[in-house]
């Protein structure tokens, strides 16, 4: 799977006061030096890729993105109250 990098348009950050809250969860090695779960604020319409970049997770390390319990793509836009979960490539059986 190819992951493209997405730019967050600068004007989103310049919208005064417009913020949305998302619940962000990290798993496996992504927790190391970061956190397990945090509520975070971003400008409305921020795509998943921008959050990944904000966390300084290299895109090639992303194994799974789950948005509200469903698989998602990096270009999907986030909405108020979304639950976003990021996993490195891991597996079991």
């Amino acid at each position: 799977m190819q992951w493209r990098m997405f730019h967050v348009p600068l004007h989103l950050f310049l919208q005064n006061g417009a913020v949305m809250r998302i619940n962000l969860k990290l798993f496996a090695t992504f927790r190391v030096g970061r956190f397990s779960a945090e509520a975070r604020e971003y400008p409305p319409g921020t795509p998943v890729a921008a959050v990944i970049r904000d966390l300084r997770i290299p895109e090639e390390q992303i194994g799974m993105i789950m948005l509200n319990n469903r698989h998602a793509e990096p270009d999907q836009q986030l909405h108020e109250g979304d639950n976003l979960a990021l996993f490195p490539l891991v597996g079991g059986g």
Binding site: F27, A28, T29, M64, N69, V90, G92, G93
Partner: protein
Amino acid sequence: MDKIIRVNMTDLSTKVETVPSAWAGLGGRALTSTIVAAEVPPTCHALGPNNKLVFAPGLLTGTPAANSGRLSAGAKSPLTGTIKESNAGGTAAQMLARLGIKALIIEGLPKGEAWYSLHVSTDGVTIQEETELVGRGNFAVVEAVEARLGKKTGILTIGPAGEMKMTAANISVKDPDSKIRSHGRGGLGAVMGSKKIKFISIDDKGAPGVKIADPEKFKTAARTFAKALLDHPVSGEGLPTYGTNVLVNILNEAGGLPTRNFTHGQFAAHEKICGETMHDTIVARGGKPKHGCHAGCIIQCSQVYPDKEGKYVTSGFEYETIWGLGADCCVDNLDDIALADNIMDDIGIDSIETAVMFGVAMEAGILPFGDGKGIIRLLKEEIGKGTPLGRILGGGAGSVGKAFGVTRVPVVKNQGIPAYDPRSVKGIGITYATSTMGADHTSGYTIATNILNVGGYVDPLKKDGQVELSRNLQIATAAVDSTGMCIFIAFPALDIPECLPALIDMINARFGIALTGDDVIELGKYILKTERQFNIEAGFTKADDRLPEFFNVEPVPPHNVVWDFSGEEIDEFWNF
């Protein structure tokens, strides 16, 4: 020269046979299923004199190929009534392969009440009467046999569950640290118990070893193969760090973690039992986060889980066990689950069947949901001692459901459904329904593609593509199960183009043959069709290739979905 060893427990005789030419290119599951299909009457009683218990190392077992040390055990299953192959790590497979033993076939039943052990060496196999270890747990058997025959002895053993012919009983295999791996599924421990064999010891001193036809070609292919295993993030990093238990949080997030006897898809206390927590606990207590089940394993998905004092509790602590006693039974204490895992190893009972069974037992009111201490007590005091209740519990999920009138009983062909809800991960439901083994995630692990983005992506909540995905994986898995390879080589094999050709090159170099990828696919198809034919002759029809009714009518949160495949859609699986 490779050979077949036959043990007849009716007249207590043994013989060494040459390998029939039709079996020469087979190993592992291909060989056990071929032998069982050829020699066991499909309608026989699995615990009667006509069933046979067959052990076979894989085609590459005993070579330096990474992760090739798995042993297949086959028979007619007393749990499912179908053909069964169950494979395990440990040291026995490589020892049998080095001894040139392509298969060990145990047939007949002894008269009388005596128990026996078998000893396998360069001299063939001998049968001894056993008195001291009858009734003992598997850890005591390993300790005693090592004291008698030496630390390096390979051991296959059954605990009290197998002796009592409980249909959830497993066969334990000594691992490199004198702990235990298991031929877990399908009640093969009961078959060994019916034949009155407490343990099999293996001494490979003076063994000829495995000859490789083209050593240079083998070395090159083995290097490429090992590199693929180490390069893939799942086999190279994820599995060694978190073990298979990393899946708790993944399935929970995907809403496919069966909880409270398959009534929910998420477990509120998932963080207490997840792989991340387990890893941190093991490290803090001075245990081993990674560990191999056999020499030559470079994935190291196993671990050694100690208690608060740093003392050994269990190893090979798998996602399915932790899911089952954890989420499905709502137990949020990893130490209780680890102790239960240790007891299951010791009494010799399948930790998947037993975990699914406890979910049903809790619904039946035998003990409350969340009662980890109650699970430990029932394992020790009822199942381990073979009380009437213990024998019902030791018969698995279906047995408890019948005895207590429970209708929500997650089994297919009477085998417990493991750790992935088929309503919210639909591909695995096709595998559960169609597997020749009864419900078995490993026979076509669609979780890779439905959930983990390995080998592409097929949406777990939609029906599209699931039958084809399961079919392709079941065919490939049947072939891989014949090589002696660990199933986790599938992760790199699905994603790294050099991996599978290197595996085939190793087989070709080992035997001096020229198999192609198509030949390997054909082998997989042959195995599935051979197994299915056995099941048809045993009386199974397509009506048995179905999930229990409750999956059709009870939506599972958070996605609130039901199992919505029609019978005709499921039956498409067999169109190959």
